[in-house]
Amino acid sequence: MSYILIIGAKSDIAKATAKKYASHGHDLYLAARNSDELKEFADNIMVRMQRTVKLVELDILDYKSHQSFYDNLEEKPLGAISAIGYLGDQKKAQIDFTEAQQTMNTNYTGIVSLFNIIANNFEHRGSGFMVGISSVAGDRGRKSNYIYGSAKAAFTVYLSGLRNRLYDAQVHVMTVKPGFVATKMTENMNLPEKLTAQPEEVAKDIYNAQQKSKNVLYTKWVWRWLMLIIRNIPEFQFKKMSI
């Protein structure tokens, strides 16, 4: 049993994480929509690291398909990592509920549907690990992205509860809160270099923290302290700020 299931495998963080786990001897299930677009990436890992990489089709918003998706995995994975994320367009989401809904469903509802199924299997088996990539945006609502942030906040709370539930079954659940990461999602944003991680750094942090069964991982590490400050700004002050 050495397969790792990567959910939302097309994202840059997911790809870097997939590589990291493969380099430590794991085989991979890469789940995404139009997963055949990942063929080149999968071949790369197979040629380079001699690991088996299987592409599996997954639509995170098609909740009904999730059970059969998981049932169809021939060998159940050792661990599951969700890198699903949809930043959405905050301005649009404020006037167009479809956009708001898409943001919430992708970042929260869909992944809850799938994680429930995986959690039940792992709990029954009494082994495995689950990693959810949430976001520092879920630590406090800001006007620039609170719809996305609220979905991530919900996901963070979900993971915390799941960790609590699965503790007795010896299934570890880790919450990852990346700060700024240089990915396709943030390509057009002007990010401060010192606070911005490369996907490979995030992947390395995830692997190391998961191996040590850490509960909540901030990456880069500086975000733990930054968010501590941000969370502690009094609301009467915070509401006037633009950060």
């Binding site: 080149e40 990436f41 071949d43 790369n44 040629v47 380079r48 690291m49 001699q50």
Partner: protein
Amino acid sequence: MSLMSWGMYPKIKSTIFKFDKKKTLRKIINEHDELIPYGNGRSYGDSALSSNIINTRPKDHFIDFNEATGLLHVQTGVLLSEILESFVPRGWFLKVTPGTKLITVGGAIASDVHGKNHHIEGCFSECIKEFKIMLADGEVATCSKEVTPELFKATCGGQGLTGIILDAKIYLKKINSQYIDETTIKTKNLKETFEAFEEYQDKPYSVAWIDCLAKGDKIGKCLLMVGDFIDDGRLDYKVKKQKSIPFNFPLFTLNNWSMRVFNWLYYGKVKQRVSKKIVDIDTFFYPLDAIGRWNRIYGKNGFTQYQFILPKESSYEGLEEILTTISKSGKGSFLAVLKLYGKANGNYLSFPMEGYSLALDFKIEKSLFKLLDELDKIIVKYKGRIYLAKDVRVSKKVFEKGYPQIEIFRQYRKENKMKGKFESLQSKRVGI
């Protein structure tokens, strides 16, 4: 954005393009001129610098490997070091590798690089089955020596001036150890050095380290290192932790005296005339890669590597004259690398020819360029040439004299609308 090559000189501002899909690359090529591919930034001079740079390093996927034939298919931005990490433990090594593994496959083709085994295996182009390249019109051509010989001869060694290489199929060679049986021969002067090269020319790998500051009858004294892979089945190749130079050294760090001491220590370390030891791949092939950012030791103004080759029949006289000139100038070089090369290939701008090549590092300072111009004259006199992958300052006249096929290359670029579309600072300087 500001981008540099390994020599950290010159520093220029460029627009940097990345591409994911062929469609994107086609658009970049259609809409812009004076483009040049840039891989890992390890060429020393200005051959990969231009106002518009296409960064090929992110294209780093392995595509396929055939265990039976050793044929590896990779994208252009894959580093040689990445190939070694994956394939040495499986018993495969590069047929041809230069003295750094931190270059991309695309860069290895564009400079038609060579290594310690040039006298046996030739240049990097010898191990290429075929590659794909996007040309000036945005079309992708599959190029091989047999099917498209002109494009092949223009691209291998062509410094990226024919198009953007997308991927390549290269043959690896089988090894059964990651260790090399190394013999070091200490010589007293240039005559002994030449004799040693001849004596050991059957050894697949050879290179000499020369003390450029030696004077009088000691000129040309060297440590010649030759070797071959052993056959003990030990393939436990692991990437070592790298030490790194954290900042640019102050400019006075490297002067005539500190170099002299360094050279004396290095040379003095070897006591016997002939000594043997077993060393691993990284120690034997890539000693400098162990120190990250070693280019910083020359200080913030950067450095250049001056590498030339002279035909075998005039090598002795020429080298004597050049080494005397350098010794008189007092300008030192940490590393001066001497090697006897095998026959030239037919590629229009490939550097190697049968003869001796010497490579020296100099930190950039005002008075340097006069010395190098002087050396150029000697090289022209002895019908030698300068290596474009290292060069940052050679004149059009000196360059042309060294590369007799330059007119064919120019004509080829004109006919295929590559001129103007693909240019580097270097190509404009020497009029390629």
